[in-house]
Symmetry: C2
């Protein structure tokens, strides 16, 4: 039986999604541990987005094949929520066709990056917000976002220098919402490279601060040079909000 | 000059509002420390609600008299937010008449207690929610709330055994809102005794769990006996939302 899990986590305390062997402090590792305890068999959980250390998820998707398990989906959800730490929650479990794979079947993802502006604080949501402060020129950032949307080779926005696989991705949309204390950048695309959203965000922030022009994006695409792009914005502001599948579009 | 501060804090890390001398880890202490640094004089901050260790505030009010300070209110807010820790934020500072006293001038307060029900988790707001789980009979709790509203001697709902002052308080309203994962109890009243809201909440929870009847409230008022009331619900679920003054009613 193949089960699809809808997962939320506050990534602050963890070394990211992906299991790292014996000294494990990852989201994947924590969930696999509880699932193994429940089923009495070793399990492998496949996550749709391999979020970095400190990155959060409000809508991560993973799937797991359980051969020895005969309970229903509600039992899985309830068991996991009982034994997982407080900062990892399972919102939903459903039975899916054997061929479903959370990452390979995904058509795209939506990420949100929250930036604190001004000098007011959001004390209750501070772990999900990058406290940058000051002001940002949203119009200039939106101009820069126009350069970024569409299909491009994002090698210059990737932290992994020697990517053997294709670094071409399609960003469907980048929307920027502004309130008195916060600026939210929402990215929708068919896939994102290692650290890509954090580098895109750092670059957009530099545009918003007047440190670079919106047009400077073109050169990063041309030269494919990471050093021409902006800094890597901190993990804490980033949340994986939704994984998109054929039937959810 | 007398200044009124609107304050938010995540109380998780602190020993409550009220300063406790030298080994200080209180909200009042932290804010006074920064104000003293700013003005170069010792200051005393008067808080409207002396929240317990672990209790939060989204709308705490405090006032402070500054004799040597000649800057404006925006400078105070900005300075405080810069030097206070991330879990204490100043939303607003305004200049008020000399006679204004945050606690003595207050006409009432609104507190909210959030209880997690079911087995879904709220990973992002977990520090503001008491993860009780299970189900609660909201109708029975609302019946019990009817007994609690109005003017009563709340001695049986007070943790301080030998209160010399009056233990009569007026609760204007208790409203209970329910969603799939959460039950919120909002208390409005002219004042609350030590631990009173947490004991009221523990008592309402016992009613909701069918462990006591709504009518059992009457006996607690008659006997004024703390041992007849419910348990003290944990601090983490409680937030001081608003302090009410004559002009805000």
């Amino acid at each position: 039986m193949n089960f699809k899990l809808l997962i939320q986590y506050d990534g602050t305390r963890y070394d990211g999604w992906q299991r790292q062997g014996n000294t494990d402090n990852t989201i994947q590792g924590k969930i696999e541990e509880v699932l193994s305890k429940m089923t009495g068999e070793p399990v492998e959980l496949h996550g749709a987005g391999r979020t970095d250390a400190g990155v959060h998820a409000s809508g991560q998707i993973a799937n797991v094949h359980l051969t020895k398990w005969h309970g229903d989906t509600e039992e899985i959800r309830s068991y996991l929520n009982q034994y997982l730490p407080e900062d990892i929650g399972i919102l939903d479990v459903e039975s899916v066709p054997e061929r479903f794979h959370s990452r390979l079947s995904a058509k795209g993802k939506r990420y949100c990056y929250r930036i604190g502006i001004g000098d007011r604080k959001n004390v209750f949501e501070r772990r999900q917000i990058y406290p940058l402060g000051g002001t940002l020129d949203r119009e200039a950032m939106e101009q820069a976002a126009q350069y970024l949307t569409g299909e491009h080779d994002f090698q210059g926005f990737c932290a992994n220098k020697r990517m053997k696989k294709s670094t071409v991705r399609y960003i469907w949309s980048i929307t920027i919402e502004e309130s008195a204390d916060e600026l939210r950048i929402t990215y929708c695309g068919n896939g994102f490279l290692y650290n890509m959203i954090r580098i895109l965000t750092g670059t957009l922030i530099e545009v918003g601060q007047g440190k670079r022009s919106p047009q400077s994006i073109s050169e990063i695409f041309e030269k494919k040079d990471r050093t021409l792009a902006g800094y890597t914005a901190p993990a804490r502001g980033l949340t994986l909000e939704e994984v998109l599948y054929e039937d959810s579009v």
